[in-house]
């Protein structure tokens, strides 16, 4: 067996472990949290009173307008100066949730706005209140519109979690860095890390197209499939 293959095989275990214990949970939790925060922010911007709209816009402006790496550094290295000390993982998680929330709020906002206003009226005309119209009529349609751009964010997030290495989270990429530090084989190890990210994001793309097919059932071209 060639040297490079042996090295890849030997490091596969530690890399996958770091991915399983840090990268995957960080991705899933950040996305779930970011989605909730993004939804609430979108609601605030679309339906909230004026001060809430201003707060939501300010938040999105800040977190879309500054680099994610700088945000992570501020939370992990900066906040201790004002007495807020966080462990690496929660610090990274908070940073990612805030960042993902800012981007997804725009996706959710545009998806909700894209549902024709006649759908609200039809819901109200059969006696629904705002909450019922939102849950039963608007969100199912907005959800379908939002799946492709949300999948984009999700896939970007998987790769962005490698930035957590910079705030000492021992995730996949940091595990690779540590092996490089002892083996001096950056080319092989970083290719291996890249391949694992590629497998992860490919799996997510597959999931996305499945989800789109399932949600597309009522669309014109799929006809009357129930």
């Amino acid at each position: 067996m060639p040297h490079w293959m042996q090295l890849m095989l030997d490091s596969l275990g530690p890399l996958l472990w770091a991915g399983l214990v840090f990268t995957v949970p960080l991705t899933l939790l950040s996305f779930a949290g970011g989605l909730v925060l993004g939804y609430l922010t979108a609601l605030a911007r679309l339906f909230g009173p004026r001060p809430l709209v201003a707060i939501a816009r300010f938040y999105v402006w800040i977190f879309r307008g500054t680099p994610l790496l700088v945000q992570l550094f501020l939370i992990f290295y900066g906040l201790p100066s004002v007495g807020i000390v966080l462990d690496a993982f929660p610090a990274a998680l908070i940073g990612f949730i805030l960042n993902v929330g800012a981007y997804t709020s725009e996706i959710v906002r545009s998806a909700i706005s894209a549902v024709p206003s006649g759908q609200w009226e039809a819901s109200y005309s059969i006696g629904m209140n705002w909450r019922q119209a939102m849950a039963r009529t608007i969100l199912p349609q907005a959800g379908r519109i939002a799946v492709p751009p949300l999948s984009n964010s999700f896939i970007a997030l998987v790769k962005d979690t490698s930035l957590a290495a910079a705030v000492t989270v021992p995730e996949l990429f940091q595990a690779a860095q540590r092996i490089v530090a002892t083996t001096y084989e950056p080319l092989i190890l970083y290719i291996e890390a890249a391949l694992i990210y590629l497998v992860l994001s490919s799996a997510l793309s597959l999931l996305q197209s499945r989800l789109e097919t399932r949600l597309g059932g009522y669309g014109g071209f799929l006809g009357e499939k129930a």
Binding site: Q119, A122, S125, I126, G127, G220, E224, K225
Partner: protein, 255 residues
């Protein structure tokens, strides 16, 4: 009896309805006619409060609402009123993510809290009534415009409303498809459904409505039994408008 009294509706600076009075008898069909921008759709939408009047009074079944400028109506009273009305829209507005059956069941299950199987039976009966039972499992995108509108009528009727409001129910349809919708509405009228419809469709107005109200620039110009109003209008303005409708109907096969 449904009564609207001195209804005023303004959009910004523009007054769209000037103290309009309207009375609908139980079991009667009233057609609102008038040129575009006359306020007929707005008046119709004031009955189920999709548009909120600035002032006036509305009595419908158990609901009695009084509108005062600057004071929003009580939300619960609005919801209670809407549950006693059904609405059919010009461009159908079926829920695209639900089947025909799902569309008709939606109000019963979500708003009226009916058990699923009871709602399904009622929905199937209604789809049968509008001749759409064979398409119960079809999604709106696979239905023709006339079929979609018939499903929309079934959806509006599901909660047994006191009045069916129809906003240009045939305007988005070609004459043939409009014909199916007119037939369904005529049948409903014969069964004693109280209806109020804004329409340009002379065939619909003449063959279904008992009463007609001619609106122009937010005011009632003339109202009366539809046959009389169409054949011998008292006001010159009404006669002029009806002449344009008749000319249009002649040119487009009675639509």
């Amino acid at each position: 009896m449904i009564t609207l009294t001195r209804i005023v509706k303004r959009f910004g600076e523009q007054t769209v309805l000037h103290e309009v009075d309207l009375t609908l008898g139980e079991g009667t069909v009233t057609a609102l006619i008038g040129p575009s921008g006359s306020g007929k759709s707005t008046l119709l939408r004031c009955v189920n409060l999709l548009e909120m009047p600035q002032s006036g009074e509305l009595k419908l079944g158990d609901s009695h609402l009084v509108f005062t400028p600057g004071k929003p109506a009580d939300r619960r009273a609005v919801l209670a009123l809407r549950q006693q009305t059904g609405m059919v829209f010009q461009n159908f507005q079926l829920f695209p993510h639900r089947t025909a059956l799902g569309n008709v069941m939606e109000g019963l299950v979500t708003v009226q809290r009916w058990p699923e199987d009871k709602a399904r039976r009622r929905a199937l009966d209604l789809l049968d009534k509008v001749g759409m039972a064979h398409k119960a499992d079809a999604f709106p995108a696979s239905l023709s415009g006339g079929q979609q509108q018939r499903v929309a009528i079934a959806r509006a009727l599901a909660p047994s409303p006191r009045v069916l409001l129809c906003d240009e129910p045939t305007s988005a349809l070609d004459p043939e498809l409009a014909g199916e919708v007119v037939a369904v509405l005529r049948q409903l009228a014969e069964e004693g459904t109280t209806m109020l419809m804004a329409t340009h469709d002379l065939r619909l107005a003449a063959s279904v409505a008992h009463q007609a109200v001619f609106l122009e620039a937010g005011k009632v110009v003339e109202s009366g039994p539809s046959r009389e109003l169409f054949s011998s209008p008292r006001q010159a303005r009404t006669a002029g408008f009806i002449a344009t409708l008749t000319a249009a109907a002649g040119g487009h096969g009675a639509n």
